[in-house]
Amino acid sequence: MERRVFIQGGAAVLGAGMGAGLLPQDALAQNAPGWTKAAFESKTMAEAIKALGAAPATESKDVLLQAPEIAENGNVVRLSAVSNLPGTTQIGFVVEKNPFPLSALFDVPAGTDPSFAVNVKMGQTSNVYALARVGDKLFYSVKEVKVTLGGCGG
């Protein structure tokens, strides 16, 4: 009954694009302000990092990634990352073999811990990276997550 702890409220505001069912689908796409399209539409991790304006990432023990060794299903995989590097301004999550590897990018505002958890989709077994940005440098930690077939199949 944790549900009750939640507060409901706040107005749902529908964007201007809605109700425009007559428009071709592409016309509905209107990327959110500040969304780094080039990075999120990159097909490789290297391209995504370039699009973020950073130098190629280096591995660091100060970036900690928590990810399951085996995912029973690829639709939901819980990833969490912590950066112990001073001056970390962003934390990112990358699934190398996804069609678009960059999954999520969190800013670290002053007073917020450089520590985030998020659920991501994985199309297949892949390396997963946690990225931490310090200045224009990126540091990473990597883990393989095996995505398995489950259940009766079909």
Binding site: M1, R3, E72, R78, T148
Partner: protein
């Protein structure tokens, strides 16, 4: 009977077998641990909470041709009493003269109180498809179970129809049919069995039956949706290669009764989150 041909049991062959067997055990154990970690990681943040929140609104909002709420619905503990109600269903209801499971009773209330038609409720309309919003029944079911967390399962066996439902449910459980000769018992009648990496509860035993019964409905991450107990049976029979199980059918209520009685004494923990 033709026994399997036996090869000469030379020492190296046994050693090889032993080696392979040990490898298998080690592999399975670490996979099982890893899967347990995966499941544990999902427990915080179950999207079924979103269903339960919507379900609570649906329960309390006037709907249907009669523009009524469900707050007068008697799930078995009296009108409007929902806390703990799902833990004692299926049971016999005098007003309908039959044994009803949670979903049968909810639909009965939606029909009698709100004026929906019985034929509006079928597998096609109740079980949401990929990319579709959850149905009202799915959301309300999530709410009802959420209100009964930690309630002790106590499915009654007093009324003759309750006893018949259990006995028939048991026979259906063992009933092999279809192209693959499967029965429920093919997968759920023995201890320690898995399909792929998923443990198959032995539903004839109390503890595994309690675990299974207490954790449905559940948010299925593989489906991206909340799934009800009726759906669980429906999709088991699909994979069993049977024809299509009708929503709220007598066989479904019989089976849920069989499972529920086997699970008596357990504690409700639904909606859960599963693969």
């Amino acid at each position: 009977m033709k026994p399997e041909p036996v090869i000469a049991a030379v020492k190296w062959a046994w050693l090889a077998l032993l080696f392979v067997a040990c490898g298998v055990v080690a592999q399975t154990k670490s996979s099982a641990d890893a899967i347990a970690d995966y499941r544990a990681s999902l427990q915080d943040g179950n999207p079924a909470d979103l269903n339960a929140a919507r379900g609570e609104q649906l329960w309390k909002t006037p709907r249907g041709p009669k523009n009524a709420t469900l707050q007068a619905c008697d799930m078995g503990l009296g009108p409007g009493k929902v806390t703990g109600a799902v833990a004692v269903l299926p049971r016999y209801f005098a007003d309908t003269g039959r044994v009803m499971d949670v979903e049968s009773r909810l639909v009965y209330c939606m029909v009698t109180l709100q004026g929906f038609r019985t034929e509006d409720f079928s597998a096609a309309t109740v079980f949401s498809g990929e990319g579709q919003k959850a149905s009202a029944v799915e959301d309300i079911v999530a709410y009802l179970y959420d209100e009964s967390r930690d309630a002790v399962i106590n499915i009654p066996q007093q009324h003759p129809l309750e006893k018949q439902a259990y006995a028939r449910g048991r026979q259906i459980f063992y009933y092999k049919g279809g192209t693959h000769d499967f029965s429920c018992a093919s997968c759920h009648g023995e201890d320690g069995r898995r399909i792929r990496l998923q443990d198959l509860p032995n539903l004839t035993k109390q503890k595994p039956a309690q675990e299974a019964f207490s954790q449905w409905p559940a948010y299925r991450v593989s489906q991206g949706a909340l799934r009800t107990m009726q759906w669980r049976l429906y999709d088991c029979f699909r994979q069993q290669r049977f024809p299509e199980l009708q929503y709220l059918s007598p066989a479904s209520v019989d089976l849920i009764t069989f499972l529920g009685v086997n699970a008596n004494g357990g504690k409700m923990a639904a909606p859960a989150i599963k693969r």
